[in-house]
């Protein structure tokens, strides 16, 4: 799998505002890559530059090794699924999907076969003559996907396509999108602010904030090995603790030393430590170094979210075991529950 798209030192300025501050990213063939970040982080701008709707202020967009950053969108081998679908209201489902093929003056019978095959793929068999404005959000979404995919692009760009759907439908579409991507075997570049969406669908997650890339990695890496405080905070819930790296495999925080699996930091380097709430175990106070008082218990469905007030900070714990408010408890963790990160802005 080679690199299909390379973004090199991409920047974008709107008047005085710099929304992209040097994006470097390689997108491989057949990969499901997600740009994840809070609103205003530049993820949509990055996507729009790949699509050709925006020109970068500086930097290059390489597609198959060729710089396409000044080529208009209609000459690019990418297609986009828009946030609000952007279906043509004056055409029925069939004509919407056939739009790109009609432009290319493809033979009528070929268009018919391709459009119908695509409508089958997205689960809209027989919807061709329907009016698009009478479809539900999920169905419009599927039309938008079919309309883009029927052109057989090398890359499909998706700009928060599930944002307008309700929770249940969104889950369904997540699985379905992943299935479609496997089936057509092309690169998907997906933009979202929803971390769960990013983690469940992607091969690669790119975490962005304030116009820079914070981390590129697999969903598991991004969750378990966040590179900095921002990534740890943005993805999943976490306890982030300031501590000191005593030496390799030994980190100190809250007056105690803990064994960990991290190394390669200078001795006595101040660091950030991430502990996921589900990794902390509540035990009897005598059995642990860290102790505290249960401050609140919230039932979350699958688990309880328990806040334990300790000497230095409140710890958030996710557990299926109930502990009453006001109880004195101990907290234990194993070395692989601790993840040590460089402080932000050090590298």
């Amino acid at each position: 799998m080679g690199d299909l798209i390379e973004l090199k030192n991409l920047t974008k300025n709107y008047d005085d505002l710099q929304v992209l501050k040097g994006i470097n990213l390689n997108i491989k063939e057949n990969e499901f890559l997600t740009l994840l970040g809070p609103s205003g982080c530049g993820k949509t701008t990055t996507l729009r530059i790949i699509a050709g709707f925006e020109e970068p202020s500086s930097g290059e967009v390489l597609f198959d090794g060729m710089d396409i950053s000044r080529i208009p969108p209609y000459k690019r081998e990418v297609n986009t699924v828009f946030q609000k679908y952007a279906l043509f209201p004056h055409m029925n489902v069939f004509d919407n999907v056939a739009f790109g093929l009609n432009i290319k003056k493809v033979d009528k019978s070929v268009i018919e076969t391709k459009v119908n095959r695509m409508l089958n793929l997205v689960g809209l068999k027989g919807f061709g003559p329907r009016d698009v404005s009478n479809l539900s959000g999920g169905q419009q979404q599927r039309v938008a996907i079919a309309r883009a995919l029927v052109n057989e692009p090398k890359v499909l760009l998706l700009d928060e396509p599930l944002g307008a759907l309700d929770a249940k439908l969104r889950k369904e579409m997540q699985t379905e999108l992943k299935k479609i991507q496997k089936e057509v075997g092309i690169t998907f570049v997906f933009v979202t602010h929803d971390q769960e969406e990013a983690l469940t669908m992607s091969d690669t997650v790119v975490v962005m904030n304030e116009g820079t890339i914070q981390m590129i990695g697999s969903p598991i890496d991004v969750y378990n090995e966040p590179e900095n405080r921002f990534v740890a905070q943005f993805i999943g819930e976490s306890n982030i603790i300031e501590g000191t790296m005593k030496k390799d495999l030994l980190v100190s925080f809250d007056d105690f030393d803990f064994e960990c699996l991290d190394k390669g930091f200078p001795e006595n380097e101040p660091v950030d430590i991430v502990i996921r709430p589900e990794d902390l175990d509540i035990v009897e106070p005598e059995a642990a170094n860290l102790t505290g008082l249960v401050k609140s218990v919230v039932f979350m469905g699958v688990h309880y979210e328990i806040i334990v007030e300790s000497k230095y900070r409140d710890y958030k714990i996710h557990t299926t075991d109930f502990s009453p408010v006001g109880k004195q408890v101990g907290l234990t963790l194993t070395p692989d529950d601790i993840h040590v990160m460089w402080k932000m802005g050090v590298y």
């Binding site: 709707f53 209609y74 986009t80 952007a86 790109g100 309309r147």
Partner: protein, 275 residues
Amino acid sequence: MKHFRKLSVPYFIWCIIFILIPLVLIILYAFTNGGNDVKTLNFTLDNFARIFDETYIKVFAKSLLLGVLTTAICFVMGYPLAYIISKQDDSIQDMLIMAVTIPTWINMVIRTYAWINLLSDNGIINGLLGLLGIDPVTMMYTNFSVVLGLVCNLVPFMIIPIHTSLRKMDPSLTEAAMDLGADPVQTFIRVIFKLSMPGVINGIIMVFLMAISSFVIPRLLGGGQFVLIGNLIEQQFVSVGDWNFGSAISTILAVLILIAMRLMKKMDASPMDEA
């Protein structure tokens, strides 16, 4: 909600007195002959038969022709303008639309007199041409001056509805078309123009309606012998005094306009097939 409904009562009374009753009277006049007193009504179709006289048919034909011509020119001028305006930033758009509407704040008669000053044989344009050694060109009292006056007065009514429909169009539709491989010309023809059709239809209906029924501009810029339907009706009511015949012409004009509107609306509603 119920006591709010009472507030609409004055409005209904207004409508009945100033719209419904005059309309009924016009139709009544159209189907009766002159000299009736309040008690007896003599119904007749003579008024309509008179219209099939050659002179009147010519007036109708000329009016329709000038109406179509004016509408066509307004459309050809107005659409690009509306399109260009809709591409500007919001604040500039408001300003430009304001600029388009400002002339309509000035009385139409005054604006038309301004054209007389410009166009007449010893007017400003011919004066300037004279300085260049060109003989005076007769512009007043021709089809040219009448159409010019009509276009000048009516073009805002073409621009505004088209601009409204272009402005409320989701810009991502244009992007979607480009994304699917349509170059700017294809995008315009297949998406933008088709989606602006409701505005185009409204503009055409408004301009055509006002062009075909106008009488002040044809009289001022076309002169006394320049007779369009509007002038004919005005003459019948004001100078000839044959209200019955005037009403018949009005009724026919109204029917013609209604038919034109229906046709236009039908065009808008019919599914637009892909070529």
